[in-house]
């Protein structure tokens, strides 16, 4: 494992697997593009049946991390290990199918593998869009489309679901339903889930572990671990019941263009997850998505 930073066990970012061999594992992973680190020194494990959520600001490298873990990007540093023959169900961010391409839902479901109509119907039923199997993809609403894509990922009989902003394009009321559905799927299939999300409320409610990513892992751990922190309670506690919680980031360190951590002059920032301080602020009603 070259370049993997050695950290004390309780501080190793994100490494709190439940004893089982992880499905997927990254050590010291970094990606350089155009001379800049998009992500750097990332350690991540996802264990079977575990829900891990990546949060962080836009441009913080969430999608880059997912694509690296999937093997779509070769990491510039570090190692990604996937369990041999790991079955992954992937739901990419912002898949836009041009209306000029005539495609039914059934066809979209079977793009890369032939499946029986019964299997396709069963997967669609599970995500609540069984009635749309013969619909044109261009007639689906945002929520329906995401549910079809989720059913598509389920069709892979995945051991690991990788979901990049699964509620994107879904209306406000549909978001909570969709997250609930993801939770049910995890319970029913026992698959691990790795997802990117903006919604902190849901993250805290249904996630085993949270990774906070802004080029490097700022903070990682179980929600309850983070939630015991006084800084967290001050910022999140009283408002945790609110349905619409947007996660906003305020660090006491700045990031240089290269991704290096540069200590900012600000004096406070006592919220110390591991090695450097930062705080998290919930800002209801603002949109960081």
């Amino acid at each position: 494992m070259p370049d993997a930073p050695v950290l004390p066990a309780d501080e190793r970012a994100g490494v709190t697997a439940r004893g089982a061999d992880p499905l997927i594992s990254a050590r010291g992973v970094g990606v350089v593009r155009g001379g800049q680190w998009l992500i750097r020194s990332i350690d991540v494990d996802v264990a079977p049946g575990e829900v891990v959520t990546v949060i962080g600001p836009n441009g913080g490298g969430k999608t880059t991390l997912l694509r690296t873990l999937l093997g779509l990007i070769r990491p510039s540093a570090g190692v990604v290990t996937r369990r041999p023959r790991l079955r992954i169900g992937y739901m990419p961010q912002r898949l836009v199918i041009d209306r000029v391409l005539p495609l039914t839902v059934q066809r979209l479901m079977t793009l890369t593998g032939r499946r029986s109509r019964r299997d396709v119907a069963a997967a669609l039923d599970e995500t609540g869009v069984g009635g749309r199997i013969d619909a044109g993809v261009d007639t689906l609403s945002g929520g329906e489309f995401q549910r079809v894509m989720l059913a598509r990922a389920l069709l892979m009989q995945p051991q690991l679901l990788v979901l990049d902003e699964p509620v994107q394009g879904v209306d406000f009321t549909g978001e909570a339903d969709l997250y609930r559905l993801i939770g049910q799927i995890r319970a029913r299939h026992g698959c691990g889930v790795l997802m990117v999300s903006h919604d902190l409320h849901v993250v805290m409610a249904s996630t085993d572990r949270v990774l906070c990513l802004n080029q490097h892992l700022c903070c990682a751990g179980a929600p309850h671990h983070i939630s015991r922190h006084p800084e967290y309670l001050r910022l999140f506690g009283p408002r945790a019941a609110q349905a619409y919680a947007v996660y906003e980031h305020h660090h006491d360190h700045a990031h240089a263009l290269s991704g290096e951590v540069v200590q900012a002059p600000g004096p406070d920032g006592r919220h110390d997850c591991h090695g450097h301080g930062h705080h998290h602020r919930q800002a209801p009603g603002t949109d960081s998505a």
């Binding site: 155009g34 694509r67 999937l70 093997g71 779509l72 992954i88 992937y90 990419p92 898949l95 199918i97 041009d98 000029v100 391409l101 005539p102 495609l103 039914t104 066809r107 979209l108 793009l111 890369t112 593998g113 044109g136 261009d138 007639t139 892979m156 990788v162």
Partner: protein, 265 residues
């Protein structure tokens, strides 16, 4: 029957349309209209190259178009230049380099208009061999890569994550475009090839519920456009290549008119 120049023209044009339709669907789906245009504009360079190297100009055109496609993919990785700009630069540079190169080769006497706008009425039997032989190869390869190419077209990351070899499939697709440009050049000329790829495909959209229906529809509409265009060219004494394109454009306009079909929207 093939002794008649007009019959040869129709056989040639229909052959090209049958290949251009399905391939053109992918160009439309992948939003590569300008890309195809740039590749076809390089064809004149290929003709010049063919004469210099002493090989059939079909080979020269295929080689040059592939080269330009590779150059395009590489240049699009240059930061600070939008794909649109790169295509605009390369498209017209390629055309101009071809024109300059041919005018420098003073020993050549070429029918430049024929290359630019097509000369389907001058099609020879050997051209028919190229069209139908090359066309059969293109359709066979397209059928073989159909599913993976469709998956990559819908979402490249998704396809790759599910084990589709995206790069080889896309390279094969580029090669197919290059071959079609080489064989379609004779019929509509390098300036109008893209229209034969795109207009029938676009016209077939509203008739289709599946990608395959759209491909078949595009082939059929293209063939109708060729026949209608050639007949009107004969009757009205208009240039054949542009007449075919006008016929295709009219068919596209017809496809836009609302009618109570099974497909809504």
């Amino acid at each position: 029957m093939l002794d008649d120049f007009f019959v040869r023209a129709i056989v040639a044009g229909v052959g090209v349309a049958l290949v251009a339709g399905p391939l053109g669907c992918f160009i439309v789906w992948r939003r590569m209209a300008y890309f195809g245009d740039t590749m076809s504009h390089s064809a004149l360079m290929g003709v010049a190259l063919g004469f210099l190297a002493g090989v059939d100009h079909t080979i020269g055109v295929i080689a040059t178009a592939v080269l330009v496609a590779v150059l395009l993919v590489l240049l699009q990785r240059v930061r600070g230049l939008s794909a649109d700009t790169v295509l605009g630069i390369l498209s017209h540079s390629a055309l101009s380099i071809g024109l300059v190169a041919i005018s420098l080769m003073t020993w050549l006497r070429l029918d430049l208009m024929g290359y630019l706008f097509g000369d389907v009425l001058a099609v020879r039997i050997v051209d028919l061999w190229w069209i139908y032989g090359g066309g059969a190869v293109v359709l066979a390869v397209l059928a073989a890569i159909w599913r993976p190419l469709l998956a990559v077209t819908v979402g490249e990351d998704l396809a790759r994550a599910e084990g589709v070899p995206a790069l080889p499939v896309q390279m094969a697709f580029m090669l197919l475009i290059a071959i079609v440009i080489a064989i379609a050049m004779k019929v509509v000329g390098i300036l109008l090839i893209t229209s034969l790829l795109i207009i029938p495909a676009a016209a077939a959209r509203r008739l289709a519920r599946t990608p395959e229906q759209m491909a078949a529809g595009a082939a059929a509409i293209g063939a109708v456009a060729v026949v209608a265009g050639l007949f009107s060219s004969l009757t009205l004494d208009t240039p054949s290549g542009p007449s075919i394109v006008v016929a295709a454009a009219l068919l596209f306009a017809v496809s836009l008119t609302p009618w109570p079909g099974p497909r809504q929207g």
